[in-house]
């Protein structure tokens, strides 16, 4: 059941300012829907569920492109594709879990078009980059004709598919601070198959030990286990200040059950997601322990 594509309008802005202005003006009338790589939007259009009739084509905006490495971290333009993330040498070294996530988004065809901001703004709880951004304390640059602001990634989602970004705002970039020294990053997607798949559970963790080998810094972020991507704060609390031990892992796992609220849906079941979320937490802690043992 396809949408009537011939009736859809597109605005092609010359510049970011022009885009923001058009977007701002549209809020009062028929809203402009931002269009980036189209890998989500065209699925809706082809399925006959168009999110609007007027589109703002961001693809040509150079201001929204590019990956810049700075002192404290990296800044990724909104239109950065997952393919660009995969191929970036600094990201590969400093943010291996982001690169791992990018490599598991769809397949080449999708990675060549799908953008980071599109993934964020589409706000699917199964979005694969989202747990990584959350685990790394990412910040999202948001702009409108009214001005610019920075939103902490964990405060970006208000509810299921609902952002704290306003209708006249665009995401322009994402900033990731370098993780603390000697930290251990982790990414694991459990999808419907080995490639071209949607997550049943997606997890990203980040952990650093202090000199006493206690957990000094920890982030546990999950997708597909609640209406929004979330941090498992209770489980984090159970880990913080503790050594990497089996009893600690068990306590964190118990706490995790309070953090998440998975459901049965077309791709998996509540029971499975609950079990796997816990197992992945343990997998992460084991991997961290192994990586320490190897050093």
């Amino acid at each position: 059941m396809r949408s009537a594509l011939s009736t859809l309008e597109v605005v092609r802005p010359r510049s970011l300012d022009h885009a923001l202005e058009a977007l701002g003006r549209s809020v009062s009338g028929e809203r402009l829907v931002p269009l980036a790589g189209g890998t989500d939007l065209f699925v809706y259009l082809n399925a006959g569920t168009p999110p609007g009739t007027r589109y703002l084509d961001l693809w040509g905006l150079r201001e929204l492109r590019g990956i810049r490495v700075r002192d404290g971290g990296v800044r990724l333009g909104a239109l950065t594709t997952f393919r660009e993330i995969r191929e970036h040498p600094v990201l590969g070294r400093r943010f291996p879990s982001l690169v791992a996530a990018a490599a598991e988004v769809g397949a080449w065809q999708i990675q060549n078009r799908a953008t980071l901001a599109g993934n964020i703004a589409n706000a699917s709880p199964a979005g694969d980059s989202l747990p990584v951004l959350m685990a790394h304390d990412a910040k999202v640059d948001v702009r409108s004709a009214r001005g610019a602001r920075e939103v902490a990634f964990e405060r970006l989602y208000r509810g299921y598919r609902e952002l704290t970004v306003d209708a006249d705002e665009l995401i322009t970039a994402v900033t990731l601070p370098f993780p603390p020294a000697r930290s251990f990053p982790f990414f694991r997607k459990v999808g419907t198959r080995r490639a071209q798949s949607i997550s049943k559970v997606v997890f990203s963790g980040l952990l650093a030990l202090d000199r006493e080998r206690r957990i000094a810094h920890v982030r546990l972020a999950y997708g597909s286990v609640a209406p929004v991507t979330l941090r498992a704060r209770r489980a984090e609390r159970a880990l913080r200040g503790e050594p990497l031990a089996a009893s600690v892992a068990a306590r964190a796992r118990a706490a995790l059950a309070e953090d998440i609220a998975p459901i049965d849906d077309i791709r998996s079941s509540r029971d499975y997601r609950l079990a796997v979320a816990g197992n992945l937490l343990e997998q992460f802690l084991r991997a961290a322990a192994e990586s320490r043992a190897r050093r």
Partner: protein, 806 residues
């Protein structure tokens, strides 16, 4: 020991350079397919064409109260057709006349077609479908096998059973009573979607002579022909069906094209314009046929040494809302249900029941993958109960020459069961790999247990175990590896008297430029029919394959060589063509009074013949080999002329934390008599194997209120190149004296063994024996949690139950 493969003597004498049969000659249509020049139905440009759409029922059972066209919509230029517009009978003629072309009043399943619309602008007709309002009086639907058997509602006759089959040999109850051990098991498999990448599509137009021309993606032109003759009350010669290049079928384009072809034709009939209906993926998955789900129970008596004594098998398949092909699917499933094993006492009771789901239909294997999945899983359960190696158990029981099947068929020749089994085991290094996985799994388990979070011990053995990619302990994962195998057989051609009833005809004539031209209704749907036919004819005529012309399957031009199904194309139709070619050769050599030397010579002689004597055409019809006897009422006799045999070995890696299974390596052997074209044959085996892998591991149709819930490609999961493992194919050739150059069937066999082999490998890796496919991570994790690892222990006399997941 089984016999070694060898070329049939007879065929050697005809060999002369350039030999075709047995060589992988370039595929005739290959160039068109790699350059984008091959035109599929949706690629055809038809001036003035209208785009057709189907309005379908949203409920699974009930009555249509009212169909209303929204007056607010602009209906100008929209063609609307319903059941009253059908000039002939409102039905899709197949085995029984129970399925309407368009629902008139009663609704028997969701997505049942009710109304047809067409317009020249695809966007307009799309909008029009949304402006149709249908009011229903819904009734409680019957959606499962259990509810159908319990007669929750009367759907078909008085018992909801489309077809009952009973096959008996020996005395099962006595056999069971006399065995050392009786093992029970119950197995289930769900729907599987064919998922050809080209969706169903047809173009229909009225012809100037008052008839119909229908072109499209299909497997069986004469099925569509038969259906349209009745639906349009036309004489047979006024209906012409032409196959376009077809993007895969796998059975999914066996009977369904009669439906969509009928729809396109009806719109064309009413409007007088050509009409094209091409489904999108959502509609194709939601509305078209699937593999029959099945529930299968086995009760098997064995001696302590593993010898099978008795097998009681009960099969129920879900046929869906109409009879369609269910009786024959059930029949093939039942006949293969005991697996390729000798057993003196067998009873097979099989039923196909009605439900209010879209009719299930043909899919590669046709019932046999379901029943052989069950029997192969059961063989592994028996092996475990007896403490026997699964390979050894099969070795002891596999069919040998002279054995008798449950229908009483004596296997007189070409029995490659052991050969397929042993070749696969050797190639896989079965014993060595098995021992190694067991050792490594033990080591891993030991390492994981005390250390809690792993830590220092993790590095041990790393060098050894990480050779095939990620080590079994990569990045915190708890991985287990296992190996499993399954053996299967598959009858070639229609079951029992089917071929006699079909009475296929194929022909060979001379084209005006003096080349041999093949005339058959057998379709090229990717499996290589065209090339393989050309090879058979070329070989016999002593010319190269690309010298032979192959006519498009067009009911206006070619005789009815039967449907392109049931692994019958090469063996049956190919056999007819070989006979035609022999006759043609004889005739031309007689005419020339000397042997034909090569293609140029052939053409010279043929042209002279055409000039002096006129056209030359040979037709051959199917003749039943005298030794084959079949009794349809008692289900006894020679179910098939011959069987093909195949074995599949897989190695898997399971992540215990997620239940994800990765197939690491697959070996498939197949005794197909003779590989006419080795690359095409291997391609069939590889493709079928990966469909089997999907069947066992990934592919699940999820339902909601009788409608397919996951009718998107993103949610109905088939294997990608990363899910499929590397496959090694070994073709075993035990020739069949009545097949062309010794060939038997190849198409369906590879679908039978992979799923049970995967289940076995997972059980070997984890101890969890899952009795329902697909073994999704959800199912496996639940199985692991329930401690489903109970059957590794030694047997005890008496009955053992293999529960749902035990």
């Amino acid at each position: 020991m089984a016999r070694r493969a060898r070329l049939p003597r007879a065929s050697r004498t005809v060999l002369r350079p350039p030999a075709s049969v047995g060589r992988s000659v370039p595929r005739l249509e290959g160039l068109d397919k790699v350059t984008g020049r091959a035109l599929y139905v949706d690629d055809l440009r038809v001036p003035g064409v209208l785009h057709g759409r189907t309005v379908r029922s949203t409920i699974a059972r009930g009555r249509i109260k009212r169909v209303r066209l929204d007056p607010a919509f602009d209906w100008s230029g929209v063609v609307v057709a319903d059941h009253r517009d059908i000039p002939g009978e409102n039905l899709v003629a197949l085995i029984e006349d129970d399925q309407p072309l368009l629902a008139a009043e009663e609704i028997h399943h969701a997505e049942e077609p009710i109304l047809l619309l067409a317009h020249e602008d695809p966007e307009r007709v799309e909008a029009a479908t949304r402006a149709v309002r249908i009011e229903y009086e819904p009734l409680e639907p019957v959606l499962t096998i259990e509810d159908s058997l319990a007669r929750k509602a009367p759907l078909y006759r008085d018992d909801n059973v489309f077809k009952n089959i009973l096959i008996e040999r020996g005395d099962v109850e006595r056999g069971l009573a006399g065995s050392d051990l009786v093992i029970e098991g119950e197995y289930r498999c769900g729907h599987q979607e064919q998922l050809y990448i080209e969706n169903n599509g047809m173009i229909a137009e009225r012809t100037p002579d008052g008839g119909l021309l229908v072109r499209g993606s299909l497997q069986c032109p004469y099925y569509v022909h038969k259906a349209l003759v009745r639906a349009f009350a036309l004489p047979p010669d006024k209906v012409r069906i032409v196959q376009t290049v077809t993007g895969g079928g796998f059975g999914g384009k066996e009977e369904y094209p009669s439906m969509i072809g009928g729809h396109a034709a009806l719109l064309a009939w009413k409007s007088g314009r050509p009409v094209k209906i091409v489904y999108d993926r959502l509609e194709d998955i939601a509305a078209t046929t699937k593999r029959h789900p099945a529930a299968i129970k086995l009760r098997t008596g064995v001696r302590r040494d593993g010898t099978l004594v008795a097998n009681a098998i009960d099969i129920v398949m879900d046929g869906g809302a109409y009879v369609t092909l269910s009786p024959v699917v059930l029949s093939r499933g039942a006949i293969h249900a005991a697996g390729p094993y000798r057993c003196p006492n067998v009873s097979i009771r099989a039923r196909a029941v009605a439900t209010n789901t879209p009719p299930n239909g043909a899919f590669r294997g046709f019932g046999a993958p379901q029943t052989q999945f069950a029997v192969e899983c059961h063989m592994d359960r028996i092996a475990a109960a007896l403490g026997l190696d699964p390979l050894e158990l099969r070795r002891r029981n596999a069919y040998r020459l002279g054995d008798v099947t449950p229908t009483g068929q004596v296997l007189r020749e070409s029995v490659g069961a052991l050969e397929a089994l042993e070749t696969a085991a050797r190639r896989a290094r079965w014993a060595e790999r098995r021992a190694r996985h067991e050792r490594e799994n033990r080591d891993n388990e030991a390492r994981e247990r005390p250390a809690g979070l792993g830590g220092a011990a993790a590095g041990r053995r790393r060098g050894e175990t990480s050779r095939n990619g990620a080590g079994p302990r990569a990045n915190g994962r708890r991985l287990r590896r296992g190996i499993g195998l399954a053996l299967a057989y598959h009858g070639a051609g229609f079951t029992g008297s089917g071929e006699v009833k079909l009475g296929s005809i194929a022909a060979l004539d001379l084209s005006h430029d003096g080349r041999p031209r093949i005339l058959s209704a057998s379709t090229e749907i990717g499996q290589g029919t065209t090339t393989m036919f050309a090879q058979l004819v070329a070989e016999t005529l002593g010319v190269p394959a690309d010298f032979v012309a192959v006519e498009t399957p067009d009911t206006g031009l070619v005789p009815d060589s039967g449907p392109t199904v049931a692994s019958r194309t090469c063996m049956v139709v190919g056999g007819l063509l070989e006979k035609c070619a022999r006759a043609m050769r004889e005739r031309l050599e007689l005419f020339a009074e000397r042997p034909i030397r090569d293609a140029r010579d052939f053409q010279r002689i043929a042209r002279r013949f055409l000039a002096e004597r006129g056209p030359l055409r040979f037709e051959r019809g199917y003749e039943k080999p005298p030794e084959i006897e079949w009794d349809d009422d008692r289900y006894r006799g020679d179910a098939y002329g011959v069987f093909s045999y195949g074995c599949c070995v897989v190695e898997v890696e399971v992540d215990l934390d997620t239940g994800e299974t990765r197939v690491l390596r697959t070996i498939a052997t197949a005794d197909i008599g003779k590989a006419i074209h080795p690359i095409l044959a291997a391609g069939q085996i590889e493709g079928g194997t990966v469909q089997g892998l999907g069947y066992g591991l990934l592919e699940e149709v999820r339902w909601k209120d009788g409608r397919v819930w996951n009718h998107q490609l993103t949610n109905y999961i088939i294997p990608t190149s990363m899910d499929a493992s590397p496959i090694e194919v070994v073709i075993v050739e035990l020739p069949y004296s009545r097949g062309p150059f010794g060939a038997k069937g190849v198409g369906e066999l590879p679908m039978d063994a992979p799923a049970p082999a995967i289940v076995a490998a997972i059980a070997h890796a984890t101890g969890a024996r899952i009795d329902e496919i697909p073994v999704t991570p959800e199912r496996l994790l639940e199985g692991l949690r329930d401690g489903a690892r109970r059957d590794g222990s030694r047997s005890s006399p008496g009955s053992r139950r293999g529960g749902k997941r035990s």
